[in-house]
Symmetry: C2
Subunit: 242 residues, 2 copies
């Protein structure tokens, strides 16, 4: 079993699932850790295509991804979707639902995955007792807001090449933060899903991958990616059209 070493941006510990070993825990003492342990009882398993929750579902819990990965998506009237994120091990999802007590997006497994359920009312009660946990929870929500800002920038003012460069560099960083290779990895999502995330058609995604390969920035064989020149990929991201 793969075992991430260190997270650049640690999330909530999830001790009952032994996630405490995986996610660098918040700065808590032993007693506090124990209480956090008691928070999450159940671990659920999913295979590709399974829904963790659906838009409209009643809100009960946040979820810590223990293994595997998910995508979140919002649907428009006419059925077409926007992928709002790809989440991987150690990340927390479900925060959209707090505001209205209903989930406002779907969360779908992209591979065999496990999540720890974190009942939100218990989490709130505990974070009233433990200020460090409270602040941590706020940081996690704030981080989601910052992430969203970045995606708005991407969707609102970058061209296709910049978007894909940003996507690859983001994956690279997140793999690195989990002790995996920042330059060689397998994509868990299809060209269509990448397109729905980046606001592009799948053909444009495919073509842009090919351009990057022709330019020697990456080597790509379907879902196997190797980044050959991180610096130039970064330069591509920074080189806006305007």
């Amino acid at each position: 079993m793969q075992r991430p070493v260190l997270y650049a941006r640690p999330n909530l510990a999830c001790s009952s699932c032994n996630l405490a070993e995986l996610c660098l825990p918040v700065d808590l003492n032993a007693a506090e850790m124990r209480k956090l342990d008691e928070l999450s009882h159940s671990k659920r398993s999913f295979t590709r295509g399974d829904y963790l929750y659906r838009c409209g579902d009643k809100f009960q819990s946040l979820y810590a991804i223990h293994s595997g990965s998910f995508k979140t998506q919002v649907l428009h009237e006419d059925g077409h979707e926007q992928v709002t994120g790809f989440q991987m091990v150690g990340e927390i999802i479900g925060m959209d639902a707090i505001s209205s007590d209903k989930h406002t997006c779907d969360a779908v497994a992209m591979e065999n995955s496990e999540v720890c359920e974190l009942p939100f009312s218990k989490l709130e009660a505990l974070s009233r007792e433990i200020p460090n946990l409270q602040r941590h929870l706020h940081k996690i929500m704030s981080r989601e807001i910052v992430r969203d800002q970045g995606i708005m920038l991407l969707l609102g003012s970058m061209r296709a090449e910049q978007r894909l460069a940003a996507f690859l560099l983001n994956l690279s960083q997140r793999f690195a933060a989990r002790g995996l290779s920042p330059t060689k990895f397998q994509l868990r999502m299809s060209r269509h899903e990448i397109g729905r995330y980046l606001g592009l058609q799948l053909e444009t995604v495919s073509r842009t991958f090919s351009h990057f390969q022709d330019d020697g920035l990456i080597s790509v064989r379907v879902r196997s990616i190797e980044i050959l020149d991180l610096q130039r990929l970064q330069a591509c991201l920074n080189n806006s059209r305007y």
Copy 2:
């Protein structure tokens, strides 16, 4: 002085600025209200173009907009910007900064405006004491995440007409929630700013306004908007290309 009547989505009360009268307060008893009153001491004034905070500024406080309006924007390397939102009376901004203790965007006044400062550590302390306030704070942050999802959908998969329709309908709702006319209002932002928000060039924004007018959906004279047919505008929003 204009006096909003009721907010569909109440935000934090800001009693020291008499915002308690404006924003429907959280469900707090008198003692709790008093404590919340003591939270915010200072009210600051701004004129168009003034910065409430800048990207990189140290995080101290959230801000409740007491009068006027602001825009928030993120900047890319090459200097071009994405407007991430237009905020009006009763809304809370600054939550981006919690995650890293630094603001990750600029907040700029769009007209003469006043804000109440809400020192975040005090807000956290108080929300440990008052569960209703705690939940309210979480809802406000979650609502921001949901709002961002909507913008991603807009930027990632809508055409220019849908984007502008969504923009106008959103303004309409928010004015209505403040007891103002949902169909007749003044824009506070330039075509350029609307464009930076919607991921369009200002010329495209202008042309799309003209199309809407030609089609009898709205009447527009520069910054004066009248929505003539809310239903068809809504239909325009729902009529995706895909």
